[in-house]
């Protein structure tokens, strides 16, 4: 699979927004620095992905799990990321579960509605 190099880039607008959130008001970032941060982020994805894949393989899994990623972050000395990411993951799982439960409930109501009509 061949990717164009642009496909591996992350959008500048989003990078700028994240930098604005991270740094104090009034702090500027040079264009060159922003481009370097964007490159570093793309490389980080590849690095974290391959480390996570190795951990998955050690467990004889073909598919990466969220747990592999969190363990990989610890291994790569980004422990400070683990707690906040775990919270984000829990919140995400809750949203997904709530959606599923709602969908089940809605389809059950629809069935009952049909029964009454018959």
């Amino acid at each position: 699979m061949v990717e164009r190099i642009e496909d591996l880039n992350l959008p500048n607008a989003v990078i700028s927004r994240l930098l604005k959130e991270a740094l104090p008001d009034g702090a500027n970032v040079s264009k060159e620095a922003r481009a370097a941060i964007a490159r570093a982020a793309s490389v980080f994805v590849i690095f974290l992905t391959s480390t996570s894949t190795s951990l998955a393989r050690k467990q004889n899994h073909k598919t990466i799990t969220a747990s592999n990623i969190l363990d990989a972050l610890k291994q790569l000395e980004f422990e400070s990321f683990v707690d906040p990411l775990t919270k984000d993951l829990d919140a995400y799982r809750k949203v997904v579960k709530d959606k599923k439960d709602k969908a089940k409930k809605d389809s059950a109501v629809a069935e009952n509605g049909d029964k009454d009509a018959a």
Partner: protein, 105 residues
């Protein structure tokens, strides 16, 4: 739960790495969030390490990469720059030491 970086792009980058197998939604979410966290971390740490400059420059990033173990993977991506003059001096010094060793033969 919102993410800011586009998850389709993150997926493309992940797939350009080894044979990752399937990438489920949860994994994609977590990878996207991790990357956002990394971007902020890299910027914040560089800024603090450079003692809060008015403008964050490339050199500040390169300096942090040199000093932090967990950023070693970026050594070739964000190398420190040296001035052409210094590079030429280094080249000359290299030539001088090889000249003197051939004289001693």
């Amino acid at each position: 739960m919102e993410t800011e970086l586009p998850h389709t792009r993150i997926r493309t980058i992940m797939k350009s790495s080894l044979d990752t197998g399937q990438i489920n939604n949860e994994v994609l979410f977590l990878m996207t969030k991790s990357t956002e966290m990394f971007i902020k971390y890299f910027a914040k740490e560089s800024y603090a390490n450079a003692k809060k400059p008015s403008s964050l420059a490339y050199n500040h990033l390169a300096d942090l990469v040199q000093s932090n173990d967990n950023l070693e993977f970026l050594l070739q991506i964000i190398p420190q720059k040296i001035k052409v003059k210094k590079f030429k001096t280094l080249l000359e010094q290299g030539e001088e030491s090889s000249d003197s060793s051939s004289e001693s033969d």
